[in-house]
Structure formats: C-alpha cells, structure tokens
C-alpha cells in the first residue's frame, strides 16, 4: 500500500475517538437534565461544572483532531 493511502486511512481511524466523546458529552448533559428535573433548585449551581465537564470532554475530541492533522500534514 502506498504511504499516502495509509495516511488517509490513519487519519480516518483517528476519528474513532469521537465515539467515546459522543458518549461522554451525552452522559454529561443527560445526567445534568435528569439531576435538574429531580432537583430544579440546585440546577443553576451545577451548570458551571456541566460546562467545565463539557469543555474537558470536547477537548478529547480535539486531541483526536490534532492527531489526525499530524498524520495528514506533519508526517
């Protein structure tokens, strides 16, 4: 197989990380909504933590993006 084809396959494989990130972000907001429905009073107080968790999880997806870019453009 020629190297440029392998590169494209590798970059595609790097996006598999999105599966985990999808589960993670869904879990964060799903837990937030179910928690907020049980105790609506406390919901605004934890929303900052929700956003923090969202940003930290989203970053994992972006690490995968960086790896995909590195495979495509650096090597």
């Amino acid at each position: 197989m020629d190297a440029s084809a392998a590169k494209l396959i590798g970059a595609g494989l790097a996006t598999i990380a999105l599966a985990g990130v999808g589960v993670g972000i869904g879990n964060i907001f799903g837990s937030f909504v179910s928690g907020a429905l049980r105790n609506p009073e406390a919901a605004p107080r934890v929303f900052g933590n929700v956003l923090l968790g969202f940003a930290l999880t989203e970053a994992v997806a972006l690490f995968a993006l960086v790896i995909a870019f590195m495979i495509l453009f650096v090597f």
Partner: protein, 242 residues
C-alpha cells in the same frame, strides 16, 4: 478558492531582526496588541467614573472582575487572593483574543500552539515554583496518593508524575485545538456557501450563523476553562490535598 487553513498564516507586517532572531511584528502580534488595548480600555476607562450605579462599561468590567474573583475564591480560597491579578489577566487576554478572532478577516493568536503553550508553560512553571516555595521538599508528597498499599504505589507514583507533566500540554492543546477546529469549520462551511451558489447556499449560510453563536460560547468557555484549571492547579500547589 482559498484553503480553510489560510486564515492561520502568520504574515510579517514590520520586518524587524535582532541578529539572527526574527522579531518581526506579525499579524498575530497586531491582534494581541488590539486585545490588550481593548481590555485595557474596558478596565481602565470603564471604571474611571466609579459610579454607584454603574454604566454599561463599568458593569461589564465589574462583572468580569467579580467572575474571576469568585472563581478564585471558590477553588483556591483566601490563599489564592495573591494570584488574582495573574488569573484575571490570563482570563481577559484569552477571552479577548478568542472573541476578536471571530471578527471576519481577523486573526486568532490563540489558534497557534506556541502562544497557548507559552501561557500554559508559565502557569505550569509558576505553580510548581509556588508549590516548592510553600512546602519545600514536602511538595513531592503530592505525587504519593495517601492510603494506598505499597505495591500499588509503584504503579501509581509514575502515573501521578506523568499526569502532572502532561498538564501544560493538555492545557495548551485544549485551547489551541478548540480555536483551530472552530475556525476551520466556519471556513469550510463558508466554502460550501460559495460552492452551492445563490440557490442552495442559504442553508450552509444559516448554519454558519448558528455556528458563530456556538463559537462565541466556545470562545468564552475556553477562556473560562483555562482560568479555572489554573485555579485548580494553584489549589493543588497551595493545599497539596488530593
């Protein structure tokens, strides 16, 4: 058509060299300067009048101040008060760089790893120095989780050490990758608008409007995350608990 990566190109505006060192004034430096000037105007001119009932600029400056002060108070406690100016500067600078990057034809300095890594490295080195200055060699117990059997420590201590040294990288890559991905995505959809022409181009254009709103949220969120992680790292160095 232009490539979506072209927006990240650094251009020299004023050529300036010290020996072999290239210290040219680039578009990146220009937008950083604009961010600093705008932040300065907001905080200095905005709070000039010190009215009891604040006007718009004063309210915004006070809101930003209170926001970061509250963040530091909640996460570090009273010991963190000393580091408030640093965290506020970091937060406001990143926020202004991120938000100004959303202006069409502007440049986002935080979309370059070298800029974010420099900030993350300052945070990392500073926090480590604070930890050693406050606790001396006792700071090394930070890497030893308490209440763990000895055989497990052999595995856990290297993991703790590695996770500590990965901090500046994850901190900088998070901000840089968010900015890079967001701006690339906007430009890719911009390309769709051109490709689909006057009839079909409206759909991606509407999507760009929504995405720009999302990017505005991300711009704020990433500044917030950078600042709050700085607070958490400071808390680790000051209080040493796990």
């Amino acid at each position: 058509m232009h490539s979506p990566m072209e927006q990240f190109e650094i251009k020299r505006l004023l050529d300036f060299r010290i020996g072999s060192l290239d210290a040219s004034y680039t578009n990146s430096a220009l937008w950083m300067t604009i961010a600093v000037i705008l932040a300065f105007l907001l905080f200095v001119v905005g709070t000039q009048r010190k009215a009891l009932i604040p006007g718009r600029a004063q309210a915004m400056a006070e809101l930003g101040y209170e926001f970061v002060a509250g963040m530091l108070r909640d996460n570090v406690g009273d010991a963190g008060k000393k580091y408030f100016p640093f965290v506020l500067t970091l937060f406001v600078f990143i926020l202004f760089c991120n938000v100004l990057g959303l202006v069409p034809y502007s440049f986002t300095p935080t979309s370059h790893i070298i800029v974010t890594f420099a900030m993350a490295a300052v945070v990392f080195v500073g926090v480590t120095v604070i930890g050693f200055a406050r606790h001396g060699a006792h700071f090394l117990t930070f890497f030893v989780p308490s209440g763990v059997p000895l055989w497990l420590l052999v595995i856990l201590v290297p993991i703790e050490v590695i996770s500590y040294f990965v901090r500046p990288f994850s901190l900088s890559i998070r901000l840089f990758a968010n900015m890079l991905a967001g701006h690339t995505m906007l430009k890719v959809f911009g390309g769709f608008v051109v490709m689909m022409g006057i009839l079909g181009g409206w759909a991606p254009l509407a999507f760009i409007v929504i995405l720009t709103g999302l990017e505005l949220l991300i711009a704020f969120l990433q500044a917030y995350v950078f600042a709050i992680l700085t607070c958490l790292y400071l808390n680790d160095a000051i209080h040493l608990h796990h």
